[in-house]
Structures are given as C-alpha cells and as structure tokens.
C-alpha cells in the first residue's frame, strides 16, 4: 500500500486522480467524524464541510509540506472550514437544543446519539481539542499545530471539556455503549 506522501506526490506531480481518490477514501472517516463532532451532530453540514475540505486539499496539495502528517494537514483545513462556516452562520444561529431536552436518563444510549449531546455542552474549541485528542489520537503539540491555540489553552480545553461532560454524565446517572473505540488515543491520553 502506498504511503500518504507517495500518493500526494502523484497528485501534485501528475494530477493522478486515482491517487487522490485513495487519499479521500483513507482519510474521509476521520475528517467527517471530526466535523460531525464540531457541528455537534449536524451530519449534512459536516459532510458538506468535509467535501469542501477535500476540494481545498486537492487545490493546495502541491503546497503541502511533508514535514507534518497529511492527516494533521487535512484536520487543519477542516478546522478552518468549520471556523469560517461558524463565522458566516453566527447571525442566523439559533440556540442549540439544551443537552437535557428529551433525554431519559434511565435509558442506555448509543454513543452516536450521546456524543452530539455531550459535544453541545462544550465550546467549539473544546470540541475540537477533545476530538483531536481522543478520536484522532493526536498529541498535544499536534493539536496546537491544527488549531493554532497555545499549548496551555489546549490542555485546559481538554480538561475543562471533560469535566463538564463528566458532571453531566454524573448528574444524569448515565450508562452508554460504544461499538468501537480508539485504544491508541486511550493509551496516549491515559
């Protein structure tokens, strides 16, 4: 299997469409998952932003410096796309549904439903840091590179975000099920 660098070189050098398709297939789940959490469950918007991210990546791939990972670079583009989207839609933004609305605490809830609820509890920056750290398995310096936030801010976003979620789970006496997890991220952030 070709590495990201080899595929990117083919795209940038000879506009190899198959190579770009392979890159999209390889990274789409991570980027879509990241954006889905940033927009706290609005799957349509997240997928639109993910498409924009890959289109921009296609245009800018010749400028990608292979010093960092392609995944980090794509996450950076995705995060900027999200910030741009948020700026555009800030005026029209309606109040997000409060996390407790329609929630039955006694019921066990699937992670796909619970995660957007938890994400709505925290700020967009906290969502980004938490998702990159746990779902993306990134180290703190990598998160700094993606978000452009200072290291101390990244650490405090992760810690405060988790505290808020923890508190909410505790208040609602919650149990949940996860179909798949990322052991790498657990090891990194344990």
């Amino acid at each position: 299997m070709l590495s990201d660098l080899e595929l990117a070189t083919r795209v940038a050098g000879s506009d190899d469409q198959a190579a770009f398709q392979a890159l999209v297939e390889r990274h789409q789940a991570a980027i879509r998952g990241f954006l889905r959490r940033l927009v706290a469950g609005d799957h349509g918007t997240a997928d639109d932003l993910a498409q924009e991210t890959f289109l921009l990546a296609y245009r800018k791939l010749p400028t990608w410096k292979a010093s960092g990972s392609l995944s980090s670079w794509l996450h950076t583009i995705a995060y900027r796309q999200f910030l741009q989207f948020r700026r555009k839609h800030q005026r029209q933004q309606v109040m997000a549904e409060p996390p407790d609305a329609g929630f039955d605490p006694g019921q066990s809830m699937d992670a796909e439903i619970l995660l957007p609820r938890l994400m709505r509890l925290v700020s967009a920056e906290q969502r980004a840091c938490l998702t990159l750290a746990y779902a993306g398995g990134m180290s703190h310096p990598e998160i700094v590179a993606v978000t452009g936030l200072p290291l101390g801010t990244v650490k405090s976003h992760i810690s405060r975000g988790k505290q808020k979620m923890q508190q909410w789970l505790k208040n609602n006496d919650h149990s949940f099920q996860t179909a798949g997890t990322s052991p790498a991220s657990e090891a990194r952030h344990a």
């Binding site: 506009d15 999209v24 789409q28 890959f54 289109l55 245009r59 995660l115 789970l169 179909a179």
Partner: protein, 104 residues
C-alpha cells in the same frame, strides 16, 4: 477528584469511531474534483486563446517595423533577439507548468 472508572468510560466514549462508509462521499468529492479540473481547463483555454489573439494582432501590427529593424541588424543582434524570445518562452512554460500538466 473525578471518578477514575467514569473517566475511563468517558475516554472510551470520546474515542468512539462512527462507521462512515466511503462510497457515496468519495464519489461526490471526485465529481467535484472533475468539475474543478474542467473549470480550470476552460479558464486556461480561454485565457490562452485571448493571449494568442492579442499576440497575433500585436505581431501583425509590429511586423513591418520589426522587419525593418531586422534588416538593418547585424547577425549578432538577431541572435540576441532570438535568445530573448527563447528565454521569455521558457519563463512562460516554467510558470504555467502545473497547468500544462493538468491539460495533458
């Protein structure tokens, strides 16, 4: 102090990976990439044709004075002029390299 067991569960939840099939999404992205390529090709062609047309008009307008100029020039002057033209063409090819690759 947060409960370590609950903390572990939250870590697991945050590390959860949703299953997101690639097929439709990848297809949509590749269709948009194709549209982007076509658009770039059209822009390049139009700009190329415009440039060519203006160049042709310019060449026609300047042909007489240039011919007069060259007739009076010694051989070395002609070689210099050719070198300048070749250097300009090489610069143009170098600058448009990416777009030529796209066209191919």
């Amino acid at each position: 102090m947060p409960d370590p067991i609950e903390n572990h569960e939250l870590d697991q939840l945050l590390g959860f990976h949703e299953h997101l099939p690639a097929d439709d999404f990848t297809l949509n992205v590749m269709q948009r990439v194709q549209r982007e390529r076509r658009r770039r090709r059209v822009i390049l062609t139009i700009c190329g044709l415009l440039g060519g047309a203006f160049g042709l008009v310019g060449a026609v307008l300047l042909s007489e004075p240039i011919a007069r100029l060259f007739m009076g020039l010694p051989l070395i002057g002609t070689v210099q002029a050719v070198l300048v033209v070749v250097a300009a063409a090489a610069l143009y090819v170098w600058m448009m390299d990416e777009d030529f690759t796209l066209k191919a």
